[in-house]
């Protein structure tokens, strides 16, 4: 494992932030995965993986994040990524993973986005909406 690699957790505005520093590759991804699993065992509502200090991520790292997202979906946890490095953002784009994650350029921004998703009011069907068909996001279908 690289000497500059570090993974740690902190708390911000009710969310758990998993910070990663260094390179996420086949050697280091298991350490990130382990802390993600540990964090999720407490069933938090929101988790942000902070990639702002990540200088390199490979397919192993991407696979680890996909696995984390699947685990979050099982646990009812919202997962977001803080990414501001264009090279890493591009990697998500070329592998078609961009839409899989809520992303922002800071953990604070990601937490706001995750919270906003949760606070979208559920639209219960009324007589009129049943006639027209209203999805849970309030849009007519």
């Amino acid at each position: 494992m690289g000497e500059d690699f570090e993974v740690f957790e902190s708390y911000q505005s009710g969310a758990t932030v998993i910070g990663v520093r260094g390179e996420i590759d086949v050697a280091t991804a298991p350490a990130v995965s382990a802390i993600v699993t540990k964090v999720l065992s407490a069933r938090p509502s929101d988790v942000v993986v902070d990639l702002l200090d990540v200088s390199f991520i490979d397919s192993t790292g991407l696979g680890m994040l996909i696995g984390a997202q699947k685990l979050c979906q099982q646990y009812g946890t919202s997962l977001g990524l803080a990414v501001d490095e264009p090279r890493i953002q591009r990697l998500f784009d070329i592998t078609g993973l961009t839409g899989l994650f809520t992303t922002g350029t800071t953990p604070t921004e990601v937490i706001k986005l995750l919270t906003a998703q949760i606070e979208v009011p559920t639209v219960y069907p009324t007589h009129e909406s049943r006639e027209h068909g209203v999805a849970q996001n309030g849009e007519y279908t």
Partner: protein, 135 residues
């Protein structure tokens, strides 16, 4: 001697060991730098060669990877072969969990590549060319 008349050849053999991929990335970056790649092209080659090794190693944890880097004025070619006791999987990119991601990354980041066999060893290769300089 102009660049067109010669090539740099670097050969690297590493045990199939996760933390040694940093050596491969370092070599890729050095070769790309010598071929006057720009910063983004250097990073692209680092990642592509990393994925090449992951594909060839295919989740194995024994054996070794034999790498050959050939750099010239405007391109770098990399070959990677697996030498070890386990049976080659025969597919490229490897049919591992992340193989699809590796394949996509390599496809986008390099100009050419594919499977390769050398002296009975299975592997793969890639070629990345430097973008033409403007002006």
């Amino acid at each position: 001697v102009s660049w067109s008349d010669r090539s740099d050849v670097v050969e690297l053999t590493i045990p199939v060991q996760a933390d040694l991929l940093t050596l491969v990335r370092l070599t890729a970056a050095a070769m790309a730098t010598r071929s006057n790649f720009d910063v983004n092209e250097i990073e692209d080659l680092r990642l592509a060669v990393n994925e090449l090794c992951l594909s060839v190693a295919a989740d194995r944890s024994v054996g070794r990877l034999l790498l050959k880097f050939v750099g010239s004025a405007d391109q770098v070619e990399v070959w990677c072969h697996y030498d070890g006791p386990t049976e080659p999987l025969g597919a490229w990119p490897a049919s591992t969990e992340n193989g699809g991601l590796s394949a996509r990354i390599i496809e986008v980041l390099v100009d050419e590549g594919g499977p390769d066999t050398n002296e009975g060893l299975s592997g793969a290769w890639l070629r990345k060319r430097r973008r033409p300089q403007l002006g």
